[in-house]
């Protein structure tokens, strides 16, 4: 694993020296709950996520924590989610309607004049299972080992992870170090396109056979893989009886297929009119690093959670994330917790909203707005109560908006009056119940 910049190294060392996180500095309150199964606690949640005119997703989570005595716990997590709707392809809007071939090569769809091209082929169902075992290793040490499995139609992710935490200063400080390794494989419908291969159209071929032959020739392979190796160092510190702080440093190195087989870039002429669409190509390695700082305060009956993350990587994608949640007690056993989040990122160095005709092809390019320059914010609130028997019930409603920005590219005439960096707006509704 490499640290790309000396500035990063000094920050990393400073963090790592004392750092090494974990929530173990404070033993959680095992307040009384009427358990469904003796020794087990369950948390469940249902989430609806809906973007205006784009992706809709529903997700269900059930997690269980079993107490095996002597501070030994088994954690199990089951996630099911389903996704439908349309996703931006990376192609630019045009003054006229555009037709695109579906990623599978079979069939096409048309985008109206002036509209952002969205591929509505997406729907997928995913199942995820996580399991971990935690136990004391000696008087001041705790260890955790875990595994991860996630499967959807065209994607499989398998992972293992481990963590060791040590308490110091009469359990006022906890240092921890964790590591994770995952192996993902992708097997998309229609295969994986070769770098910068043009999108083909059935109408340009005399026969179905000729088209299929050309389509197959434009594919590099049927499936590909990526591996991710991570290290996470953390420190948790009790500052005073009403203030807890955590600082994490993490480094994650991904190798393998990191492109998106469904994303394209438009090649436009001097006037901004699309001549063809080329499949994107990203580098085959990425090292991400982050610093994460979280504070929990108890302020006269309310609980404030403030966190900040700075992330940087060797694609030059840097981001800042600030998050605040503040829980206030209401009458009875009710509470309300407003939430605000702000996110801003710079574009990856190979991000381009489009390619220009006649210019030599770069080694890497992507028009995926998710690695472009962007600001995003979330606002919302959660309202909940503690029911008889200690069961929690809560409802959370949030609004999320992404504002992609032009990173400073001069637009040809035809593109000047079109929306190339349109906002994405989404609503999230979540219901949670613990038992």
């Amino acid at each position: 694993m490499q640290l790309s910049k000396t500035g990063s190294i000094s920050a990393a060392l400073a963090a790592a020296t004392c750092t090494l996180l974990s929530g173990n500095a404070v033993a959680a309150d095992s307040s009384k709950t009427d358990a469904l199964i003796e020794g087990w606690q369950f948390n469940s949640a249902l989430l609806y996520y809906g973007e205006t005119d784009r992706v809709k997703a529903a997700e269900a989570i059930l997690s269980a924590r079993g107490d095996f005595g002597d501070d030994k716990f088994l954690n199990l997590n089951l996630v099911l989610d389903t996704l439908t709707g349309a996703s931006a392809t990376g192609a630019v809007a045009q003054p006229d309607a555009q037709t695109f071939t579906r990623p599978s090569g079979a069939g096409s769809y048309t985008t109206a004049a002036g509209a952002t091209p969205l591929d509505d082929t997406f729907h997928d169902t995913r199942v995820q299972l996580d399991a971990s075992w935690e136990q004391p290793l000696s008087s001041n040490y705790r260890g955790t080992v875990g595994g991860h499995f996630s499967k959807e139609y065209d994607y499989l992710s398998l992972g293992i992870n481990g963590n060791i935490a040590r308490d110091f200063n009469h359990k006022n400080t906890t240092l921890s170090v964790g590591t994770a390794f995952s192996h993902d494989s992708i097997n998309p419908e229609g295969g994986i396109p070769s770098a910068f291969t043009p999108m083909l159209f059935r109408n340009n071929f005399a026969s179905e056979n000729a088209y299929q032959q050309a389509f197959d020739g434009s594919r590099r392979t049927d499936s590909d893989t990526k591996t991710t190796a991570e290290l996470l160092f953390g420190v948790t510190q009790i500052i005073n009886p009403n203030w807890l702080m955590q600082l994490n440093y993490s480094i994650a190195k991904a190798d393998g297929y990191l492109s998106d087989p469904f994303k394209v870039l438009s090649v436009v002429n001097n006037n901004g009119i699309t001549q063809q669409n080329l499949y994107e190509q990203r580098p085959d390695a990425r090292t991400k690093q982050s610093l994460y700082w979280q504070n929990k305060w108890h302020l006269s009956g309310s609980y404030l959670d403030l966190s900040y993350r700075y992330m940087w990587d060797d694609w030059s994608l840097n981001s800042h994330t600030a998050d605040a949640r503040w829980r206030f007690p209401l009458a009875g056993n009710w509470y309300i917790e407003p939430h605000a989040r702000y996110y801003t990122q710079d574009e990856a160095e190979f991000y381009q909203p489009f390619l220009s005709e006649g210019m030599p092809l770069p080694a890497f390019a992507s028009a995926d707005y998710r690695i472009g320059q962007m600001d995003a914010y979330t606002v919302g609130a959660k309202v909940g109560t503690v029911l008889d028997g200690g069961h929690d019930f809560a409802v959370r409603l949030e609004y999320y908006q992404q504002n992609p920005n032009n990173p400073g590219v001069e637009l040809p005439d035809a593109l000047k009056n079109l929306e190339l960096f349109g906002d994405v707006k989404a609503v999230m509704l979540q219901v949670s119940y613990s038992f």
């Binding site: 500035g7 004392c18 033993a27 959680a28 309150d29 994770a180 009886p241 998710r370």
Partner: protein
Amino acid sequence: MSIKINNKIKILITALALSQLAACASLDNVKPWQRGTLAKKEMQLNSAGLDNALDDHIYFSKEGSSGGRSFAGGGCGCN
């Protein structure tokens, strides 16, 4: 926001990390009997574990960053 201000931010973060280092060395003043509030569920760092898991999944699939609170990689084809 321009990222040409990166070096300033890194200095700030280093200072932050150093201040936390100093905190580690000197803070040993919260006794077990003073931890009633800290032991509450609301004061746990991951007190809303499912909310965090759902949020991390959404933002992982919609933004160019991931991780920080916990591991960043692998997971799903949503990104």
